[in-house]
Subunit: 259 residues, 4 copies
């Protein structure tokens, strides 16, 4: 009653040989960046040179956002108990969920649907954006990917779109995101600019990432930030302290220019 | 009864400004690679150009090792139940522990101690390595970072040391690792070559990473691999299947050359 | 800019006093069973005597199901890496999700809806059950809580209903579950008896548990089983073994009678 | 190349039969309490009647301690992000670690060692306790299980020892714990009474629980509390709120008498 083997297409492991999506890992090492390897592992193909630059900038944009996000707080809270680093990081990742990081996937769905409808119905970008904003207004719902608690003009969004423009990656989805931004302002009189979630969503759409991987993208980008916080908690703070997220102060390196 | 604010040195967050270890994140974007930003987040300073190439190759080396490591199996097992991706990835990270990934930290401690004793006592590298091997033999313990279940001549180790040599990063710790490899063979007559854990340990020592971050290094490198497996499980497999790790077959891209 | 305090209704903590849902914990100790305290913590009120007996039997029914459930496999897989017990148990709980334990909540929703419609439309139980089975057949979907991979006549279901009958707890929901079981057999000619998920669902409905707590009920019941497996893995097995769930044998106490 | 089956002694699963540690689960249901089944699952044997009462009281004593423990805070923090209940509870369990709950195991080790030395060297209880307190003083370390941040006279400790006394369970370990309490006061002039961790440790020693299961005991007891908090967070609070643990107020049922 032999069972058929189950299949995997990620990595072939043989004695003294490791092949990721068709490429030997030892050949990838030194030839491609980590960001390129991440793209390969997830999507199955290496990015183009332009996509490689884009994904690098996107991962850098989300590497950390200080101590207030729930992923950081749950990771630090677990770290205060003397738990090992991996458990604290895992606890941080459990918080990268619907309301924290989740807007990237939601915004991808909105953009994918909007561009699809735009094409299907031969509507213009602006017309489609206006329609969408009206639809959401009618349902009394907020469009995901617009507005931010802290940043009115998120520097990461600006830079992501600037890089995307320079690389020729900005296409229909970035266009639609900007059209929606305009349509919101037109409709409500108030500015709700594209936030970093919305910008990442547009760019993941441009590079053809499936929307269920938006959460994965955010996790991969944020894990180093979580590690930095957990290690700081372990080495600098007293165990079992009550962490009040509002009551903190930055005392790290003063602002400095890139070398 | 105002409490004093607690301190963090990772990221300063102000409206429309995010500063990681002193550098504005929007300035980092497009200027440094994700691997460089990872190095910065964890260590507090940007890597040199040579260190940046090294850390990239190291992260790529550990991005995946197929379906048999326990981190992959726990992540896939959780994914079969319909759990969200972040929960499955978190469950994978919980398995990156003492016996899985843990040898990197153990090997770092051995190398740090060996080089310290070498310097303190004015011993030669070879002498120190022989002494160490005898000490472990006497205690009937295995030296962490040598030998591998699957790979007798791990292609990743070779490549890591080749890159480290070319970049001028290989120093006392790589030297000691190689001396220990020789001493083991001399003492036991059998070859137990440096494995990828041992090689990563030597290079993390060369770049002055604290040994408690070895686990963090491995987690950051492996998360994309876990994501790839979880997504494959979610999109390709039936829920609630019993996963027998031995009973699988690779059916992905055939081996191919880098473009 | 003083913030208003946030509110909690679970436990009041004062120096030398702990009050759970209004009762001093030191008064609860020795006066109520753990199962009664569980009921109180979750639902806010102590169970009646009959409910207390019912919830005890329900928790016992789900305490363990051997090594094949994914929660056990992920917990054991994590334990093989030398991770601490709490991490392995947490990894097990991450697998108590939609397809594993999730059927209890799904079945609760079906039963709640069916009884509501029955009452609203003045239908008889049998008529309502027939209608439901036809609706699911039309949508080509399976009714959750009926049929089992392993057990054709699940001894736990029998016993749960027998106890519920004796205690006078079996009411409209148990009646509806049985009516659906009959309707399935009538419609398909095949028996798909109520499984333990379906039985637990009916009884949680009878005791007025909110359906989103079905997952919680299963977690609370199963944690001791996970602990037993993790501890066995830690004390009896070699680290880093590849766990094939099908390839195991029971070598524990032979079957015995209760004292 | 057939592999030998691996062995488990927890539960035998056959079609229509489930046997936990030798007892059919359907026979256990209705005959033993959940606490008795927990004891059986973990220790392999049913508790005596007195042990059953003791373990029930112990589990009740630790079911919740309000919102400030890190396990509650990490669980609630994860819940604010829209994560499912099981993920939030798992994140809570990750915080039940060395400094949170961990003192039970530490205190068990101290008591086991003290009673062993007492017997080995024919010392009296008081003499042994004095010696221990001096040894810890000399190493400038605190004895685990004594003193509490909030409770100077923990009502749970009192009640646990009262029940243990009435049941005839209090023996050498409870005696030693009390002797140490006296010795601390004698030596330092300050009272550092046995806290609930110390009391649980003494009683787990009396019932012959292995010390590595102390963490498991606390997890099993606390999971219902975590569930109550997570559900309250999910149903009563706004998503993504910043949780300040100090800034809360109890607004649940006023204190009431047991019926």
């Amino acid at each position: 009653m032999k069972e058929e083997a189950w299949k995997t297409a990620v990595t072939k492991v043989e004695p003294n040989k490791l092949v990721l999506r068709g490429y030997r890992i030892d050949e990838l090492m030194g030839s491609v960046s980590f960001a390129q390897a991440v793209f390969l592992a997830i999507k199955g193909e290496l990015p183009t040179e332009r996509e490689a630059k884009m994904i690098d900038a996107m991962l850098v944009s989300s590497i950390d956002h200080g101590v207030t996000p729930p992923s950081c707080l749950s990771a630090r809270t677990i770290a205060t108990t003397g738990a090992p680093l991996n458990a604290a990081v895992a606890g941080g990742i459990l918080a990268i969920s619907r309301h924290h990081g989740g807007a990237i996937e939601d915004a991808m769905k909105v953009l994918l649907e909007a561009v699809r409808r735009e094409r299907e119905h031969g509507k213009g970008e602006e017309e489609m954006a206006d329609l969408l904003v009206q639809e959401y207004k009618g349902k009394n719902r907020r469009l995901p990917g617009f507005g931010h608690r802290v940043h009115t003009k998120d520097p990461r969004t600006q830079k992501l779109f600037q890089i995307a423009g320079a690389l020729g990656i900005a296409g229909a989805y970035v266009g639609m995101a900007k059209a929606i931004e305009n349509a919101i302002e037109k409709s409500s009189g108030k500015s709700q600019p594209i936030n970093v979630d919305g910008a990442l969503a547009a760019l993941l759409c441009e590079m053809n990432f499936p929307s269920p991987l938006a959460n994965a993208f955010f996790i991969m980008a944020r894990v180093p930030g979580l590690v930095a916080h957990v290690y700081e908690e372990q080495t600098r703070m007293k165990p079992m302290r009550q962490i009040n997220s509002r009551d903190h102060e930055y005392d790290g390196m003063p602002e400095r220019k890139l070398p």
